[in-house]
Amino acid sequence: MLKIDNLQVSVADKPILKGLSLDVPAGEVHAVMGPNGAGKSTLGYTLAGRNGYEVTAGSAFLNGEDLLALEPNERAAKGLFLSFQYPLEIPGVPALTFVRTALNAQRKARGEGEVSAPEFLKLVKQKAKDLRIDFDMLKRPLNVGFSGGEKKRMEVLQMALLEPKLLILDETDSGLDIDALRIVSEGVNALRAPDRSMLVITHYQRLLDYIRPDKVHVLAAGRIVASGGPELALELERTGYDRYAAEAA
């Protein structure tokens, strides 16, 4: 599904990722854990195609497609979805309008027909109910004045509607209380499927109690320095990142 090989990325001429390699097979959930400044968010932004994240070497393929050759919207149409640590407020654009515009843009890029307004509404109503999102909230400008939990639930709603192949969750647990964390995690877990992979980027082990990974990778100083099963996350929780930070340096 996702194959990253020797990825090197600079931001403002400063090397952040220094040869990162990662392989996430279809249907698997992989966690990337690491200390602050290791390059966790850079990994998500680079895969999504943000300006200012300059790839100096290496490659990233999604189902055989060269991600790095595509515009951000084309990557989304190929099935990549980055869930933002801090979802942006979009003043003046109702959440419903935003998501329908995104869905139809992706469908158009794939040569599929548009989803009609009634079909879309029906779809949204069910998914919103599952996520305990008040339908009236969807008529408001996306994320404007929403609480941290509401914004993250909106992210999960968008995932559920856009049906990506690869989900990248960037610090999805930040700013969430326990109840919100549970609802968001249930929403993400409901999306687990044999043809869908997930990359869960997180500083803390806490999120992985809810979204159980098949594999855990440690990212330190721009490289994957250790990989293992879910037990690796628990070990990190006990011992911290110091050992890996020292090794990487």
């Binding site: 195609g49 919207n73 989304a76 980055l82 942006l88 654009v93 515009t101 995104a102 992706q106 400008p141």
Partner: protein, 345 residues
């Protein structure tokens, strides 16, 4: 307060220069040195951009009505389409109109500046009078050639308990100035002055307003937004004066603009002059680029960059058109905005 300039196209000594404070960003004299020759009268067929909304029509063609008059007066309620049609080559014309809304009556004025031809100069002087409890909604659409000079100045007299609401939609010209001066009596009267400018090329639009609060408990709300591309220039001057004794005045003014190119310019001067003690006044002014983070967020969800730019810019500016309460007028304003943005972005 500075006395307003009384522009007369026949007399070049009345043309303001940038040394006149209120005209410092719209230097008329620079573009118009001498009094232009007078435009020939123009016959105007009924219609215009608001034709679908019906109502009475008063049309000036190069400054002259169908009856050959340079001045018109309307008193009444309902809908009035006030059209200033210009079609001239390097000549000038001026027109004058007075609109009176009787006590407790309600009037919608759809004012359009429809320009064709080139390098003409147009000067329009307007007076609006609202009786007690009257309600006047004024929608102004300025669509003129990029080498035209167009000045429009209105004096608005509001009575207690009356409501005056205006929305100006400007696409600029070589120099386009739309000025509104309001006498606000307070005492339950409310005034709303909104504006929108969408400018490309080397177009220039100047939205200038002055509200003078003369009595207690007056409300003014103002929202102007704009976007400028290429080497266009947007000017916003908003002054709210609260006279001594005009206590409990509530006035809010906002001006927010997007600049899409390094050569484009926005000049803004929001001013509050407060001589009363117990008032609630605020103003906000921002000028900047489109939020790149929001743009990336939209693209990352699959929306192509051009479409995302149009969507975000439209949403930013649409706040102004959304405030228009009259359904037909709001839809016309929204359609104008979409057309203008498609051409701009």
């Amino acid at each position: 307060m500075n006395a307003p300039v009384r522009l007369d196209l026949r007399d070049a000594s009345t043309f303001p220069t940038r040394r006149v404070e209120d005209w410092k960003w719209s230097d008329l004299k620079r573009f118009l040195r001498d009094a232009p020759a007078v435009s020939a009268a123009l016959a105007v067929a009924p219609g215009g951009p608001f034709a679908a909304l019906g109502g009475r029509e008063i049309a000036f063609g190069n400054g002259v009505t169908a009856d050959g008059a340079a001045e018109a007066r309307f008193e009444g309620a309902g809908t009035l389409r006030l059209r200033f049609v210009s079609e001239a080559q390097a000549t000038g014309h001026q027109a004058r109109a007075t609109v009176v809304v009787p006590a407790r009556a309600e009037l919608l004025v759809l004012e359009s500046y429809e320009g064709a031809g080139s390098a003409y100069a147009s000067n329009v002087t307007l007076g609006f009078e609202l009786g007690e409890g009257a309600r006047l909604t004024r929608i102004v659409l300025l669509e003129e050639p990029d080498d035209a000079i167009s000045v429009s100045a209105a004096e608005v007299k509001v009575a207690p308990h009356a409501h005056y609401t205006q929305t100006v939609l400007a696409s600029g010209a070589k120099l386009q100035r739309h000025e509104t001066r309001v006498n606000h009596p307070g005492h339950g009267a409310s005034v709303r002055l909104d504006g929108l400018y969408v400018l490309s090329g080397s177009r220039h639009a100047d939205l200038t307003t002055v509200v003078d609060h003369q009595g207690v408990e007056g409300v003014t709300s103002q929202l102007t937004k704009g976007v400028v591309a290429d080497s266009a220039r947007g000017v916003f001057q908003g002054r709210i004066v609260v006279d001594r004794g005009a206590d409990k005045t509530d006035a809010r003014m906002g001006h927010h603009a997007l600049i899409l190119s390094d050569k484009a310019e926005v000049d803004a001067k929001p001013e509050l002059e407060i001589y009363a003690d117990d008032v609630s006044c605020a103003h906000g002014n921002t000028v900047g680029a489109l939020d790149e983070n929001a743009l990336f967020y939209a693209c990352a969800r699959g929306i192509p960059e051009h479409e995302a730019r149009v969507m975000l810019t439209q949403a930013f500016l649409g706040e102004v058109t959304d405030r228009i309460e009259h359904d037909g007028a709001r839809e016309a304003a929204q359609a104008w905005l979409v057309d203008r943005l498609e051409a701009l972005l």
